[in-house]
Amino acid sequence: MNEIKIKSKNLNVYYGEKQALFDVNLDLNEKEVTALIGPSGCGKSTFIRCINRMNDVIDICKVSGNIEIDGVEINDKNLDVVSLRERVGMVFQKPNPFPKSIYDNISYGPKIHGKGETKSELDEIVENSLKKAALWEEVKDRLDEPGTGLSGGQQQRLCIARAISVNPEVILMDEPCSALDPIATAKIEELIDELKKTYTIVIVTHSMAQAVRVSQKTGFFHLGKLIEVGKTEKIFKNPDNKMTQDYITGRFG
């Protein structure tokens, strides 16, 4: 098993009076894919949004407990959130390219983070990012066309390319395939398999089959609590917790 990259300890999250996460203790391994599953509203997205402090933008949100990346506490008020988000990229449910060219979509991040000072350096970053996102061959001749003109699956791969353009260490994916057709989904899953060699990936998914296909570790959340976490194969073949079994076999409720 790989080393622990991200460690959450007694993590609690509140949206105003409502508590969304209860004492979540979860270790995420480096260069592995961890899938988070559970019914809607169970706290899985809230959890991943803690990893790059996206919850900071919600005024009523309060976080207590710890999240460490490489042993460093990220809830520290003095931590530079911009550099944290450079290290922890995110891909959302619905592809959301900027209303700019394919090239600009990728080069925007490196530019604001001060990477790629010359045109040729930026060209290289754009090409490498698109290649890593398995999109280069499909768009190399039309980099100046709008990113929004691509198909849904291509747009999502563009967003993945955009996330990796700043060379992050962690990629968070919040239901990245839920708006895609099966072929586009298959391409993203194949890509995740490739990306895990370089990055630590956390994916929130409602598809049990997808969790089995792409992840090495799976965590099951319910009503804000982490009910069970373990090797994906074990969780889907023989989970220890009855609630996990009831959820993955469709007996919930």
Partner: protein, 230 residues
Amino acid sequence: MSNEHTVKSYEEELRYLIDSVIKMGSLTESQLVDSMDAVIKVDKDSIDKIIKSDDEINKFRSKIDTQIMTLLVKRAPMAIDLRETISSLKISQDLERIGDLSKSNAKKVKPLPLDLPEELLGNLKRLGDLVIKQLNDVLDSYVNKNYDKAKEVWEKDEQVDDLTYIAMESVIDFLSKDKKNLDFSTHLIFATKNLERAGDHITNIAESICFLIKGEYLKGSRPKGKVIQQ
């Protein structure tokens, strides 16, 4: 199974699959009892009926295969449901093989003389009775999802091995007394061996049941009794 599925038709499909395995098991057991009876009583009239019943068992096997494929495609079963589905596949394969062995034994009745010595058939009957009991017990453990009972069957196969040895020895003894016994003695040796192999399939079923219940295979190798050299 504990709670019911949110999707009722999924629940029904799983129950239907389990029912099919139980029915196939019951048919296989009857066929084994009939074939044993035919051998011990040298009842040549029942051979055709036993051979025919094997067709029924094979039909069940095809039906269960189809049910499993549909379940896999439609439901992508997980955890206990996945283990239930995979175990049904494996158990039905073993039942079908037991059916083949019973049929093979029924066919061996044809060349047997009607005046076979008592002690020869006595040893074979003891073996047959034990194999029938083993099958009955393993099917019972499947119906009741009884791990301990399945494990007991698995361990008891040692006794099947021992009785096979004794039955074989008595046939070989009989054969050595008069070489003209060679023809039907060979048939009796094969019939004995078939019962021992049926016993092995029963232990496979016991293993599948243990895996179905606990999600892990029985550890170590099962106890072995005396075995005649092949």
